[in-house]
């Protein structure tokens, strides 16, 4: 595998940023430097009682200078609700850097990134990387409400500084911001307006399936980041498999980022 390690970090900040949405900043300098866009950390939290397994989270952003990584998470169950109650100074264990990162083609000039819900988070470092390499980056984000579009500010700031013509478009289910409804019509409109050489998708699986369908027949590389329940997080237990054209693959090491066209969606 090579250079996966357990980092012992400290929570620097942990606050609510939207409905059921929280942002945790963890200080762990080696991990912050080692993470590449799309990778995740397998998090061990203090005080989890009888909940013995770690929880996997994508890295929203990582800063080598401050030695911190950000995790954007949604409170959905015991672990994430408990996590939301942890304060600065609490110790967390991070296994990482884990998983296959995003792999845009070397010469990507124009990329389309589509994020649904907290799926916006694992795309942010990728967007930053593409911007740095001079690619145009169009981002489409979907969420239930305007309040839940918590990544919008960071994307706006990033894309405002992009050298190539880039854009951010948003959709909300309730129409409180941007397009009213799913983000898929925005994707359709983008695909008609511009020719992309790379697309990256992360969000609920039904949404990813539709978006990947929209790319069918287009001459662009397309990747998707998938979630599976994970025990080990390092490739040993085979709990996290994803069906692909090439057989069962482990989301924790062969993914979470997969060639979208090879994934066999249920």
């Amino acid at each position: 595998m090579g250079n996966v390690f357990e980092g012992r970090g400290t929570i620097r900040r942990n606050e609510q940023v939207g409905p059921g949405l929280f942002l945790m900043e963890v200080g762990e300098a080696s991990m912050a430097r080692a993470i590449t866009p799309g990778q995740f950390v397998h998090v061990g939290l203090p005080g989890m009682e009888g909940h013995i397994l770690r929880r996997p989270f994508s890295v929203y952003s990582a800063c080598g200078d401050s030695g911190t990584i950000d995790i954007l998470y949604q409170a959905v169950g015991f672990g994430t609700r408990h996590m939301a109650g942890l304060g600065p100074g609490a110790a967390v264990s991070l296994l990482g850097p884990l998983g296959r990162a995003w792999h845009p083609p070397e010469d990507t000039r124009c990329a389309l990134l589509v994020g649904g819900g907290v799926g916006a988070a694992p795309l942010f470092l990728l967007a930053a990387e593409l911007v740095r390499c001079g690619s145009a980056v169009d981002v489409v984000l979907g969420a239930q409400t305007a309040d839940a579009l918590v990544c919008r500010g960071r994307y706006e700031a990033l894309l405002a500084g992009a050298p190539a013509k880039s854009s951010l478009r948003c959709a909300t289910d309730d129409g409180s911001f941007g397009h009213a409804g799913f983000c898929t019509p925005l994707v359709e409109e983008r695909l008609a307006a511009r020719s992309y050489d790379y697309a990256a998708v992360c969000g609920p699986e039904p949404m990813m399936r539709i978006v990947i369908g929209q790319m069918e027949g287009l001459p662009l590389a397309c990747e998707a980041s998938l979630e599976r329940r994970m025990a080990c997080g390092v490739g040993a237990c085979l709990s996290c498999v994803v069906a692909t054209d090439e057989g069962m693959r482990r989301a924790c090491v062969d993914g979470p980022v997969f060639d979208a066209r090879k994934v066999v969606f249920a």
Binding site: M1, G2, N3, V4, F5, E6, G44, G50, H51, I52, L53, R54, L95, R228, R229, M230, A231, C232, G233, V234, G235, A236, C237, L238, S239, C240, V241, G247, M248, V253
Partner: protein, 304 residues
């Protein structure tokens, strides 16, 4: 004070009593970033079958109080792929290798053993008799004395290497099963495999595992495992590998006291990838603190 940590497991010499629980450690590559594999007493591989098995649908795991359920379905690439890739690599790691063997029929178990028998890198076999026996309508081999005798006797005849038989806890009387395996020629027994269980999501009214039922592991099963090791120890003379919820050195010592000669660390690896070596260190610390100079003194040392 020097401490002797070595144990003998039916012909397999282990420099300390700790191995990995099959299926929780793959072939060790995934953990080589975290620990030095040669520090282990032995490494037990995931289950190997004759042909590739695709395993079950997802979700394959569910967390449950102090444990987890799994229904991986023994996914593996088949014995030949195992020999070519994992075993070749393992042979360079400086650790005795116990290969866990799966099969749906006696012929399948024998075919796997036949291919592995000539391999010097294989130090012992662990026969997983919790697999469903297709010839017997899918009931696990390990659930009837007749089936246990049949599969163990044939496996015994097929190998000169130490033969460990891994028992399922899902039986009424572990003592009679243990005696059948011993009588049919097993050199050692390992126990326990996972305990059958299930988990339900009340809100969706659906099972949490795609396969509905699965195997429970982790601290939740430790009391069950200790009881079964204790009963098996009183039933047979061959050595035992104890497992089920071992997270610390002290947990391991409890298994030794119940009668195990060695222990395996499974689910704990998912929580702490250094669990195996920390269990070894914990046993050493326990011995030092308690004036134990040879870890073998602990085996069956329960006072009652």
């Amino acid at each position: 004070m020097s401490l002797a940590m070595g144990v003998s497991l039916g012909g397999l010499a282990m420099k300390n009593p700790v191995t990995t629980a099959s299926g929780t450690f793959a072939s060790g590559r995934e953990y080589a970033d975290f620990i030095d594999l040669s520090a282990l007493g032995a490494l037990t591989t995931k289950g190997v079958s004759l042909h590739a098995w695709a395993g079950n649908a997802t979700p394959r795991i569910a967390e449950t109080p102090s444990g987890m359920l799994n229904s991986i379905g023994l996914q593996n690439p088949g014995v030949q792929a195992f020999i070519d890739s994992d075993l070749a690599w393992l042979s360079t790691q400086g650790v005795p290798v116990i290969v866990n063997v799966s099969g749906h029929s006696i012929e399948e178990y024998l075919a796997v053993i036949a291919l592995l028998e000539p391999q010097d890198a294989v130090h012992a076999f662990e026969l997983n008799i919790s697999c469903p026996n297709v010839d017997a309508g899918g009931m696990a081999f390990g659930c009837s004395t007749a089936n246990v005798e049949a599969v163990v006797a044939k496996a015994r005849a097929a190998t000169k290497k130490p033969l460990i038989v891994k028992l399922t806890p899902n039986v009424t009387d572990i003592a009679e099963i243990a005696r059948s395996a011993e009588g049919a020629g097993a050199d050692a027994l390992s126990l326990i495999n996972t305990v059958l269980g299930m988990a339900i999501d009340a809100h969706t009214r659906k099972p949490r595992l795609a396969r509905v039922v699965g195997g429970l592991s982790g601290p939740a099963i430790k009391p069950i495992a200790l009881r079964l090791v204790y009963e098996a120890y009183r039933a047979v003379a061959i050595p035992l590998i104890g497992m089920g919820g071992i997270m610390t050195g002290e947990d391991a010592v409890e298994f030794l006291l119940a009668g195990a000669s060695a222990v395996a660390v499974g689910t704990a690896n998912f929580v702490n990838p250094r669990a195996t070596v920390e269990v070894i260190e914990g046993i050493e610390r326990y011995c030092a603190d308690n004036g134990v100079t040879d870890v073998k003194e602990l085996i069956g040392g329960l006072l009652c």
